[in-house]
Amino acid sequence: MKAIFAFFLLVLIAFLGSQFLFKRKKLFLPLSYFFLSGLIYVFLGLSLGKNGLNVLSSAVLEGLKPLISLGLGWVGFIFGFQLEYRYLRRFPQKYVELSLLQSLFVISLVVGAFGWLLRSLFPSEPSAILYGMAVALGLLLSLNSPSLLNFASSDISQKGNYFHLARFLVSVSGFWGIGGLALVASFWHFPFFEGNIFTRGLVLLLCSTIFPVFIAYAFHFLTIKKTSESDLLVYLLGLAFFASGTAAYFNLPSLYVCMVLGITYSNLTRIQEKLYPLILYTEKPFYIIFLILIGALWELNLDYKIALLAVILLILRTVGYSIPLRPFGKILRFSFPLPTLFGLCFLSSGGIAIAFIVSLKLIYPFPLIDVFVSVALIATILGELLSPWALKSSIIKLDTEK
């Protein structure tokens, strides 16, 4: 009975989506981006999970666990595949430097603020875990999603410097956050090393970087000759899944391993045009299923601490991206000013942030991890809700004024 009800819930959401929401012209209406970005599926998952109808019970989720870790790998692969050097080198180097500076600033800000906050709110927890959580939240905040700008692209008639800079920054920022995740997962590997942390961590980091490069070469050799679309799809899924499954098996982040796989392959191959439609064809269904499963995994426990931390995290995101823009612009000698307002366009972190949250949940089975998941997911969702408005008030305004 529950399954039937759940099924109708899925149909209802699809129906709502088809009738009202998947229309780009409504992008700037309140709540519409919440549907458009697919975040509604997290709530569908939540209602189907053990806190709701229990259709996606713990046993079912255990059976679907391979799909979750493979989904993470898929998100990482797609992200990495977009980081093609031939495309990126068209942008000035200072864009990359700005992206790095922004990420470092946001990470430091969150580590400082949350390191203190978490110790005050959870005094009985080991400080190593609390600092680890603060670092994880900092890395999370360094991620941005290009989806909103891509959706809004057709609605923005005047695409000036701000639009192009923002598009570049949100597209590459994930590299720093996911790279940071690999550092954390290697040097703070679970189960924890008892000694020789640096050497062992370095070995793990090297392995999680070299292994996907190796897989990417295998993929390249397999697809160097003319390959049919269906074969290409299996090679793609097979190798990405093998890489992400291996990462998950060794408690390393699938997101990072598959990002490296994506970067290496996209820079090796000459068949991007053939691969993009395939990726597009499989991306959305995968992503939606992934979001539903994540919602089902979410142990929602809303207390004042979580709500407070989520709001603070969102404030830090806004502040961290806005305040230092002027000095950064001056240090890097940008030809156009970088006003504080421009920082508002970095509120959306979308799918990549959700994948990051789940990666940590899968790697670290601490009791406090559910607090991290709730804080991070709530802040991400709030950020998504506000991001269309923020985009309208920042880039569109700035490019129009100019």
Binding site: G63, P66, V234, G238, L239, F241, P285
Partner: protein
């Protein structure tokens, strides 16, 4: 290049699963690495096997057997069990495609041949196994250790199980070879309809066997009612699911891939909680969608577009699930039964096709399309094991061994047949 990558990936997996790396690993994610590995490994094996003019799915199955719990142990029994849900989802998607391949007009045209083949295969196979059971009492300890009534019951059950053909394997070979034509239509339609028929025949055989083999048991009409409920319930639920898909395509028609995966998942869940057959439900649903929706074609094509990874996962897991221990213990007897089943399949198909006045070529050749066996036969063997605890375990082991052999040779025979009658590749030409 395929071979080099295959070897490299293989040795890599060997290294990753080595005991020296075990302290660093998280066994909870063993199914993840296994699934990722089996997807690429089985596909590459399928490609290499295909060069030897064998069907790719034979390669997928062999790769599953090779990497499974009995040889290399890359997939443990626990991993295989953990992957059952994904396996079930893949089966539902395959069944939707199989149902979608059947068109009312074709069925009407072939109705006489389908039912004639179906009826004569069933009668001749069951009779043939009863004769083997009676004549073979002195040769096979499997029969001689039992009373005449038990031996008779066992023969009937073996016969009804031997009638089954795997629709999922049939559709996989047809999709892989892009086959189209009379043989393709008739073999697929018969295999699909036979699934419903076989379950009813099996229920009848089970009741009769209980009556014969257990002295104080009266003939159980209840089992028959239960099975009719299962078949009827599956058809009814399949119709509802099909209707739901038709309405969805008509009024919503968005996010089709997610919707179909949702259908497959919920069908799997509901069928398990109600004791129905997910395969049947999806076959009926696929049939309704194809025949009663103008957009059915596009939906079936959308599933077919991603069918290769689905087939790889499904057949590789099937291969890994095959019980090699059972095969090792009873391979001689299993081989005799496989050959005998083949002879009876030929006779049943020949008589059925002759009575339906099909051409002589069809009468002689089409048996090769009905050899493969998989899930339904396996499910029935489990039921027999529970119903007859004294010898059910031995019976199940024998059936598992028979299925293992049939599942390897069945796809090969069907592929050869489709090439021989020049139907392979015809679908691509039409497109």
């Amino acid at each position: 290049m395929n071979i080099i990558v295959l070897v490299v990936v293989f040795f890599f997996m060997l290294f990753l699963k080595s005991s020296s790396l075990a302290p660093l690993s998280n066994p909870n994610f063993s199914p993840s690495i296994s699934l990722g590995f089996i997807l690429i490994f089985a596909f590459l094996v399928g490609k290499i096997i295909n060069r030897l003019k064998l069907p790719q799915i034979t390669g997928f199955i062999l790769a599953g057997i090779f990497c499974g719990p009995y040889i290399l142990k890359f997939l443990s029994i626990g991993d295989v069990e953990n992957l059952q849900l994904l396996d079930g989802l893949a089966l539902s998607l395959i069944a939707l495609t199989a149902g979608g391949e059947m068109r009312i007009a074709q069925l009407r045209k072939n109705m006489k041949a389908i039912f004639s083949i179906l009826i004569f295969q069933t009668i001749i196979i069951i009779a043939g196994f009863v004769i083997l059971g009676l004549l073979g009492r002195s040769f096979f300890p499997f029969f001689s250790e039992k009373t005449i009534a038990q031996g008779f019951a066992l023969s009937i059950l073996l016969g009804s199980l031997a009638t089954a053909t795997s629709p999922s394997t049939t559709i996989a070979v047809i999709t892989e070879t892009n086959a189209k034509g009379k043989y393709t239509d008739l073999i697929l339609s018969t295999a699909v309809i036979k699934d419903f028929f076989v379950i009813a025949i099996f229920a009848l055989s089970l009741s009769l066997s209980k009556f014969l083999a257990v002295s104080d048991k009266a003939f159980e009409a209840g089992v028959m009612t239960m099975v009719l409920r299962e078949v009827g319930g599956s058809i009814l639920l399949g119709s509802l699911v099909g209707l739901g898909i038709v309405l969805y395509l008509k009024f919503i028609n968005r996010e089709k891939a997610v919707f179909i995966l949702g259908v497959a998942f919920f069908t799997y869940q509901i069928s398990h909680s109600l004791g129905l057959h997910p395969l049947m439900i999806c076959l009926v649903a696929g049939f309704l969608v194809e025949n009663f929706s103008s957009r059915g074609d596009s939906l079936i094509q959308a599933i077919e577009k991603v069918s290769v990874p689905i087939y790889v996962v499904f057949f590789a897991i099937s291969g890994a699930s095959l019980n090699l221990e059972a095969l090792r213990r009873s391979w001689v007897l299993a081989l005799i039964f496989v050959v005998w089943r083949g002879v009876l399949k030929f006779s049943g198909t020949y008589v059925g096709a002759k009575i339906a006045k099909e051409d002589p070529g069809f009468q002689k050749r089409s048996w090769a399309g009905f050899i493969s066996q998989a899930g339904v036969a396996l499910g029935m063997a489990v039921i027999v094991e529970r119903a007859f605890p004294e010898w059910g375990g031995e019976f199940k082991a024998l059936v598992l061994a028979i299925i293992a052999i049939n599942q390897v040779i069945g796809p090969v025979l069907l592929q050869r047949l489709l090439f021989k009658v020049d139907e392979a590749g015809k679908k691509q030409i039409d497109k």
